[in-house]
Symmetry: C2
Subunit: 394 residues, 2 copies
Amino acid sequence: MRGKMTNFRFSVANAGIKQTKRPDIALIVAHPPARWAGFFTTNAVKAAPVVLGMERLKKGVPLAAILVNSGNANACVGERGTRDTLELCREVADLLEVPEDQVLMASTGVIGQPLPVEKMKRVLPGLVEQSGSATLKEFATAIMTTDRYPKWEEAQLDAYPGVTLAGVVKGAGMIRPDMATMLGFFFMNAGLSASDLEALGRGAVRDSFNRITVDGDQSTNDTVLVLDNGDGTQSASNAENVKRAVSSELKRMMRSLSEKIVDNGEGVSKVVTVLVEGARKERDAEQVARCVANSPLVKTAFYGQDPNWGRVMAAVGYSGVEVAPERVDIYLDKVCLVKGGCEAGGDAERRAADVMKRRAFTLRIDLGDGQGKFWLITSDLSVEYIKINADYRS
Amino acid sequence: MRGKMTNFRFSVANAGIKQTKRPDIALIVAHPPARWAGFFTTNAVKAAPVVLGMERLKKGVPLAAILVNSGNANACVGERGTRDTLELCREVADLLEVPEDQVLMASTGVIGQPLPVEKMKRVLPGLVEQSGSATLKEFATAIMTTDRYPKWEEAQLDAYPGVTLAGVVKGAGMIRPDMATMLGFFFMNAGLSASDLEALGRGAVRDSFNRITVDGDQSTNDTVLVLDNGDGTQSASNAENVKRAVSSELKRMMRSLSEKIVDNGEGVSKVVTVLVEGARKERDAEQVARCVANSPLVKTAFYGQDPNWGRVMAAVGYSGVEVAPERVDIYLDKVCLVKGGCEAGGDAERRAADVMKRRAFTLRIDLGDGQGKFWLITSDLSVEYIKINADYRS
């Protein structure tokens, strides 16, 4: 990030939130303060920083800084969660000499334990002083929980080389015991308004982070922020073109990073795109896709590399969508496994088993009933998943 | 069953449907033909015998016999499934000299493979000849798939010693790869009408088999049949009393057998009652209970014996029901783990961990919002579950 996009500056530190010696706290400073959009978990149980973020988003003030910590979700700790969040934001605001409501927090980690506020306050002056000293990769690494590798991307628009985008996410697909899942931060200097960021971001989040599922469990802390502090000096007609180019690049970047979240999950050995076509409505296709993608039996078959289409048919059947079993076709990549609700025959099972040896493949289900389609990305359910999630804390 | 309830007669045989030498086919003969009620899977993908059962139920004819096989679900095989079912029912009807539509089939086993009809037809004369030669336990054993033990019960009504009930179920909780789940048969001589059986059975099924969940996957073959061929010689006022007593006993029996289905599942090490109270409506309580009971993270915590209440809070939060996290209390048996949405403190976690060492316990969630409540029974999600379901067929 250094050099390329100096208008967002990163620094990291070890505040002792986790037991390790690795950085567990990071600061993003937007210079100048950025217009922004935010997308938050729809879980009714929300972490304190999520509630504050939603409030400050409504106010329409720019963002000068975001304090991010791993190791503690600051969720389910009552009133104290809000007090701690406000105190830390105020402290950062004072050090940066910006208004208090221009600072946000984002947290990820164990649910139900209060933040170690004093420890965290001690490293804030250093984080502010060192602002700009960390690379995007170092920032991405500091906010990891059970992630196997840091996840970030940066890009310049081909047609507008002065416009740069960068994105960082954390999220381990397989959620660890108390770990709260995904955070995403996207930075640009495209000169877009807050309402543009909201519209672009909403579409891109819908087609990326909202289309991945690992265990169907939804976290208390999910947050995606999209920031822009470019000066927007383009002419009006050019601005429209830039917006279109940014939208396309943001979609690509979020899609790519969301796949990495599934791929890097502990215990994941398969990354499977579930594509449902031929539904009467897109909504029906989504319902079937989510049902299949979250079925423990289907996911266990992915793990076992077993083209067990009976399980897929059963999951399609209990999705709640009216389907005609005799019109259902099922494919694994290009191999037709089921035709008209029955086994396709020949050596289809053997060839499908070969497809399933790959790390990534597509399970395509054609309901033969209309034009509605939907896709999402899921993982297998593995012995390692159970071990990781059962053994933690014990 | 012999001696006690000679009006239902059982026989079993090995037709070679499975690879083993154990019985895999069984015949129930009702003598005289019985009034009956049937409850079938709501899965849109239904096995052929389920479709036939639903049709014959509508006709209102009595049942003279049920042919039951394990090892093959007769599901997802197209038109052939219906033809095979009809042919086998006709054959049994001819041998018994009863009308064809008084015979049903129930199948459980692998999805997607045609029934070995010729093999099955060969054993039918013997099954009819030997009718009455098998005990209830032998019948319960013949219809098992991955069940670890046969499940049956019989009872006499205390107040009406002449009235006897018996029930047999199969279902391994943890569903094996292609195995289609649960079958249940209930027999009595209480003299009830078909519409009484429907009303009593519906309530009892709702409070038993519809309240167990293992992996949230629903089968193509689930069938519960309730049969009565008693002569109903009681006086009118007595008949009402008998009906009440039968209803109560049938509920108890179904509840007990449904718990056994969860308990005997392969890979199950915990049987957990999830009880949600304090919801605004029963419907809300049910939604929260199903969400918690099917959460892979919560179920993995059961397996790990980890009182991981953050996962429970998160699942309550994403259930879709409007909840006030600050009013939520969570208990494991009598140990209060969460009070007002926060950790209860003290040594609650340690004491809760002790509770979780038991094979069976209750997770109680009080939403603090009203009088609505709902319970259901779930299992843990274990390493053994994944191994069983991934390794089969491979």
